[in-house]
């Protein structure tokens, strides 16, 4: 590249100083051949931006232009009708009628209601203040809630899942403003160009699935599929494709790694058909303190929960439970085991139980309230275990933890209070395989805020295991070479353990919690 070419390239990039630009202009004036090359380069520069644009962006833009033309057409139509009516008017009354007619016509043409959408589903929503009276969406509808999930259907343009705490304002058929919270949008073709405004910029859909989270200091946009345009407040447009993400802060814009597992892309599917389940009331009325399960849909009958102990621990002992008796575990070696292998692979499941965690909980006593699977290093995802999080590096200690070896989800409510809490963990498929499986945790019937929304590595191995479901035993614990910090057994009490091979609804979970009645 010679000097002229270099200046030409920098000129196209807008990198020349004022002095260089003036010198460049003089050079071009003198050199016709250079002018020719500059024209060619500039033409290509302008054409490339258009030629390489994705079809969604183009379709959205032309859609907006045509909408503008239709508006003009409507205005001209109304204007011409008004003119004709005026020409025919007789007297003042007719003139007034013409004006009223024209105004009415204008309102009908330009303001006729365009269906914006409606609320189609709510999961354990706790409203901030009064709950909305109307679940049909209109411009100005506002959804402010402290916790829970709300799903909106956007008049055939797409779907939106809003996760609390959230404050979402509907501005029009193709526009809304997220003041706070997390939103996942899946937009259909008719909704391309949908704009989601936030306090630090806006996101324009180009035919896609994407998530936006609005926190106090930052806004993040993660593209799960397709593409979006992201506009930081006062900044230039960024085009984000699949697996791209960007973070807007007060004074910075930063491209970050997309986190596909940080948004709910679907709510649990409505169940069709019968569900199978196993329920251990933990009344310990059997021989040797074993507990006979209530089994539905499975043919096996030898799935009693049998107490056991490893040195130096003791077998679990019955204590007063939430419904009848419960079992208390010492955290030193006491546990219970059943031959029921648990739910394998990445199949949907729900695990419910009551748990009491002592307020003097120690970090070596958290792993393994309920677990199953065949632990194989380094086979990530081969086990399924619900614990009280003992590891500060994974999240706050003392919170519910769902782990699969190689991935974990941690809640926010501290369980170390010596009281009974009802726990329900629901696993179900996300909208796409690469997002993994979504996890919902209900604590005392309320949706719990989690560190992540899905688990990627999940393939619970139930085929070759030498044990089934365990209570109070860490599924990764090896008595021959115990981990010095993690501990092998849970300390606390457990009552009414149920395992289902489907995702339970919040109502079913609440019913189980309140009256201990198993859904069918």
């Amino acid at each position: 590249m010679n000097d002229s070419d270099e200046i030409l390239a920098r000129w196209l990039e807008g990198e020349l100083s004022d002095e260089e630009s003036a010198a460049w202009k003089r050079k071009l004036e003198r050199d016709p051949e250079l002018r020719k090359r500059a024209i060619t380069q500039a033409r290509l520069h302008g054409m490339l931006g258009v030629a390489m644009e994705d079809e969604f962006t183009t379709a959205r833009r032309t859609g907006e232009w045509l909408e503008k033309c239709r508006e003009i057409e409507r205005e001209e139509f109304v204007g011409s009708v008004l003119g004709r009516v005026k020409r025919r008017q007789q007297g003042r009354f007719a003139a007034a009628a013409a004006v009223i007619f024209a105004i009415g016509l204008a309102c009908w043409v330009s303001l006729r209601p365009d269906e914006i959408g409606r609320v189609v589903r709510m999961e354990t929503v706790e409203w901030r203040g009064q709950a909305p009276q109307d679940f049909e969406l209109e411009a100005g509808s506002r959804f402010q809630f402290l916790r829970g999930l709300v799903e909106l259907e956007l008049g055939g343009r797409g779907r939106m899942i809003v996760e609390g705490p959230a404050d979402l304002e509907i501005l029009g058929p193709l526009k809304s403003r997220l003041h706070e919270g997390r939103v996942t949008m899946r937009v259909e073709e008719s909704g391309h160009g949908y704009q989601l405004e936030t306090p630090r910029g806006k996101v324009v859909d180009l035919g896609t699935e994407f998530g936006v989270s609005v926190g106090e200091h930052r806004v993040e946009t993660h593209v799960l599929e397709g593409a979006v345009e992201a506009y930081p407040a006062g900044g230039e447009k960024l085009l984000l494709g699949k697996d791209d993400a960007v973070r807007f802060e007060e004074r910075s814009v930063e491209r970050i790694d997309a986190d596909l597992g940080s948004f709910y892309t679907l709510l649990p599917p409505q169940r069709a058909g019968l569900m199978r389940s196993v329920h251990w009331p933990l009344e310990t009325e059997g021989r040797d303190g074993s507990d006979a399960p209530e089994v539905r849909g499975y043919s096996a009958s030898d799935w009693e929960m049998v107490p056991g102990a490893h040195e130096p621990g003791s077998r679990p002992v019955p204590v007063e439970g939430v419904f009848g008796k419960a079992m208390a575990f010492d955290g030193r070696g006491g546990y219970m085991a059943s031959r029921f292998p648990g739910i394998g692979g990445d199949d949907p499941r729900t695990v419910c139980f009551w748990v009491k965690v002592p307020d003097d909980f120690r970090e070596s006593e958290g792993f393994g309230i309920v677990s199953w699977g065949n632990f194989q290093v380094p086979d990530h995802g081969s086990v399924w275990q619900i614990s009280v999080n003992p590891l500060a590096e994974d999240g706050p200690v003392g919170r519910i933890r769902v782990g699969v070896h190689g991935g974990q989800i941690v809640g926010q409510t501290d369980l170390r209070d010596g009281r009974w809490h009802h726990v329900a963990v629901v696993l179900y498929p996300a909208s796409r395989a690469d997002i993994g499986k979504h996890v919902l945790v209900y604590l005392d019937g309320q949706l719990e805020a989690l560190s992540r929304r899905s688990l990627l590595a999940l393939n619970t191995r139930t085929d070759e295991g030498n044990h089934g479901v365990w209570i109070a035993r860490n599924v990764t614990h090896d008595p021959q070479s115990p981990h010095p910090l993690h501990g092998g057994f849970f300390r606390g009490a457990v009552d009414e353990l149920s395992i289902f091979d489907a995702a339970l609804s919040p109502e079913e979970i609440r019913s189980l919690m309140e009256i201990n009645e198993l859904p069918r």
Binding site: E6, G46, E64, C69
Partner: protein, 191 residues
């Protein structure tokens, strides 16, 4: 130059204002929006403003479609509207510095368009799209980052660790070879 047949039908429908004329106008917009934007982006530093101006071009065309007599090409008529809008835009913002992008573009405007003698703007853009199908690997990635994602050369340089000059030089050479490819394709059409 004759319009392709469907375009001629759309044009006739729009001018007659018969049933479906608005949809037909939509088809014309989809057919011509690319080269109109490229025409304005070539002449303006701010591509977002160029796209806004392109919208004005089509709104003007929509309002004045009855004045299009049909004796010249629709593309030529549209190019005239685009050119007038661009000149008005320049008049409104006379503050651009001596030797600034737009001022140099005014000077370059007097020169011959490298592609138009052999074909129209529309065909040049189509030819470019065909030429781009043969670009792959790192060259494709670079074009993608610069022209599809809209990153500046400095941003690309910072993210991939390659020098600014090397990237600018590579882009320059890619534009040169693509221009040559367009010329060959347009000449083949002419012959």
């Amino acid at each position: 130059m004759d319009e392709p047949d469907p375009a001629r039908e759309w044009l006739a429908k729009v001018r007659s204002r018969g049933p479906g004329w608005l949809d037909a106008f939509g088809e014309l917009v989809r057919l011509h929006e690319g080269w109109v934007r490229a025409y304005l982006r070539t002449r303006m530093r701010d591509w977002s403003a160029a796209d806004d101006l392109a919208q004005e071009v089509f709104v003007t065309a929509f309002r004045r479609i009855r004045t299009y007599e049909g004796d010249g090409s629709f593309e030529g008529w549209l190019r005239g509207i685009a050119h007038n809008h661009w000149r008005n835009h320049l008049r409104k913002r006379r503050e651009s510095p001596i030797g600034g992008y737009e001022e140099i573009q005014i000077m370059l405007e007097a020169g011959a368009d490298p592609f138009r003698p052999a074909g129209d703007d529309h065909r040049a853009l189509d030819a470019l799209r065909e030429c781009l199908m043969h670009v792959d690997g790192p060259s494709r990635d670079l074009l993608q980052q610069r022209y599809s994602k809209g990153l500046s050369v400095r941003e690309i340089s910072a993210s991939c660790g390659r020098g600014y000059s090397a990237l600018t030089m590579q882009l320059h050479r890619l534009r040169e070879s693509l221009a040559e490819c367009i010329r060959r394709k347009l000449e083949a059409i002419e012959s």
